[in-house]
């Protein structure tokens, strides 16, 4: 009995010593290791898993990077980020953010300016389109990780060359539909949501107009090209080139229709390319990519890129920058492109001969990125996009005429800018 309790006491004492030692060791380690955490939407968090592991191995003992896996959808991500930022001190050091959030977040004072950390040479290494949408009010706030731009997908088995102008697209569609080659000519995003603004931006620019010039606050929605663009979209539905149901299509619905071979054209982002190469795709091997149709000389693509930011109040700015540089490096971008189809932002990656040979589609991504345009860069973007999609949806469903709808959209936009004091 005596021996027994003695034995237990010894075990407890040993455990106690081990515990103290390891705790002390842990504290010593914690002091020297900077832990950095980034919030990313779920697909990005999953895609960067290997890179994060690599980074942590290379920086063992110095920096420990942790990626918090956010929700799947862009808007849900924004809600989560904003909710945590509103609390004052965000539980993250950095955020992977969409191009349209930047002015709003910057105006709210949530972000750390980064111009002291990235030089002119760094910026010059980015593709031209990828240099857009990272700054606001003269400060650099974001470093692009992957580029996203609106693309026109077409069926190579149905045509030799893709159409270049809006009229050509309608003509090709109608003749293919007449020959019963496809049910629909063109599928796109007509649901009342942000995707519709992206579709429209490509067209208003393509018809030679401007949605909003942020330097002069000049609104072009009810100008001739603005109305023409809206009328063209509405005409697609009226002429039967696009299905009536396109008024509730998001990216997923458009992809579904194109993937089963029901449509000759589709507007979508680069991610769709990888989806169309899967074995369940009826059009695998018969898909080409080009830029959105436009009047000659006005070709454009809506820019929708994701980039990393550092939040104000982070006590690990230098370590965060280190992590950002790693995650956006050439090697990282090559890896993300090859494995997940994420379009790179560094010009040298886009021009990489080996990569171009393995994946010729990269050339098309690069071409579209060259002409990519961001949506109006104002802190009021969410409001003006909301009034635009509202009116566009009314036009597409026949509730309003294109002239009437675009006049209302322009008036609403004007009111938003005026009440914010951005316009006299």
């Amino acid at each position: 009995m005596m021996r027994h309790s003695h034995f237990i006491r010894r075990i407890i004492a040993t455990l106690f010593i081990v515990l103290i030692c390891s705790a002390g060791f842990g504290i010593a380690q914690a002091r020297s290791i900077e832990s950095v955490s980034f919030l990313m939407a779920a697909p990005f968090a999953d895609a960067t898993q290997d890179l994060v592991k690599q980074f942590n191995q290379e920086h063992r003992g110095n920096i420990s990077l942790q990626v918090v896996r956010g929700p799947l959808e862009t808007e849900a991500m924004s809600d989560l980020a904003i909710s945590s930022l509103l609390l004052g001190k965000a539980p993250f050091d950095g955020l992977l953010m969409d191009v349209t959030w930047l002015p709003k977040y910057a105006a709210a004072g949530w972000m750390q300016p980064l111009e002291d950390y990235f030089s002119e040479t760094d910026i010059a290494s980015l593709a031209i389109g990828a240099r857009e949408g990272n700054s606001y009010d003269g400060h650099l706030y974001r470093w692009p990780m992957n580029a996203d731009m609106g693309l026109l997908y077409y069926r190579t088995d149905l045509m030799e060359l893709p159409p270049e102008t809006p009229d050509q697209l309608v003509q090709v569609s109608q003749s293919l539909q007449k020959d019963k080659k496809v049910d629909w000519g063109y599928v796109w995003q007509g649901r009342q949501y942000e995707g519709l603004s992206c579709v429209y931006l490509e067209l208003i620019d393509g018809f030679g107009g401007d949605w909003l010039k942020t330097d002069s606050n000049q609104i072009g929605l009810n100008s001739k090209p603005g109305v023409e663009a809206a009328a063209w979209l509405q005409g697609l539905i009226d002429q039967g080139v696009s299905p009536r149901a396109v008024t509730n299509y998001g990216e997923a619905e458009a992809l579904q229709s194109f993937k089963v071979g029901d449509a000759a054209f589709m507007r979508n982002w680069p991610y769709a390319w990888a989806e169309l190469q899967k074995s369940d795709s009826a059009v695998k091997g018969n898909v080409g990519i080009t830029t959105m149709v436009a009047k000659p000389g006005h070709t454009t693509a809506t820019l929708g890129s994701w980039g990393l930011t550092v939040l104000k109040g982070s006590s690990h700015v230098d370590a965060s920058i280190e992590a950002i540089r790693f995650l956006t490096s050439e090697t990282a971008q090559k890896q993300l492109f090859l494995k997940y189809g994420y379009s790179p932002t560094q010009q040298r990656v886009i021009d990489d001969p080996q990569l171009l040979q393995d994946k010729p589609i990269l050339a098309e991504f690069g071409r579209a990125l060259k002409v990519a345009t961001p949506r109006p860069q104002t802190a009021l973007y969410a409001q003006i996009s909301d009034v635009l999609t509202r009116q566009l949806s009314s036009i597409l469903t026949g509730e309003r005429t294109p002239e009437n709808g675009m006049n209302v959209a322009a008036a609403n936009t004007n009111q938003i800018l005026m009440s914010a004091g951005e316009k006299p």
Partner: protein, 293 residues
Amino acid sequence: MIIFLLLPALLLLLVVFVVPLFRYAWLSFHADSVITGLIAIPNGGANWLRLLQDLRYWQDLGQTLRFAGVSVGLELILALCIALLLDQRWRGRDVVRTLALIPWALPTTVMALGWRWIFNTPYGPIDHFTKIAGIGSLNILGDPNFAWIATVWADVWKTTPFAALILLAGLQTIPADLYEALRLEGGNALICLRRITLPLLRPYILLALLFRLAQSFGVFDLIQVLTGGGPASTTESIALYAYWNALRFLDFGYSSTIIMASFVLISLICVIAWIGLQVLIPTHPKSRGVIEL
């Protein structure tokens, strides 16, 4: 003494209900948006003036009332039928009782995503059936005249079991001897329903009504996922508009005004609905002492 026992519950209510409400009321008299750098600056009644002139708010209010009225009305009628059925004795009743709860147990977002694909044109089953039936493609979610009906449909499908559960609980409190007595006096099933079931069920109907009204006025996730407020904003609800103002536009002053105004209006409507039902359903027959045929 009793106040001490109630204290924890009262404190909880204070923290989760009263404090936010006062905060909203206070914010509704301030400009607090991305333009002011998220600092609250008093602006008198400017937000309220804007609300009065904001046609979009009144349109959304109308749409929310339409949604709530139609879906809660349908739900209560259906729930009563289901509850009466599930209250009878028949083989397999227990299994059905459990199964009937499944729609309610599903997360709204999941269920709304499901309906979005079911209503999908042209790949959803509904489109398939209407084509076979010769009606042609209906484009339910893409048509301003139909989309709101789809939101009502999905809501009724999901929340009827909840109302049925409350009513079923009520039915089980009604003593069987009341029915026996009435039957002895020659009352048929319809008279039983009118004279016994409905009056005794009244508190439960009111409970289900209030729960469901409050919930459906605040409808958000279902619409956000199913239609996103479109097409042409015909399905946008007040909650969706308030959410857009707060989390997308970062305009907390105006969002609070929307919430406060809706809170007052909806409280009023709930009181009216409550009184209305009191009048509509005859009072407790026991309190009159006799059951008149």
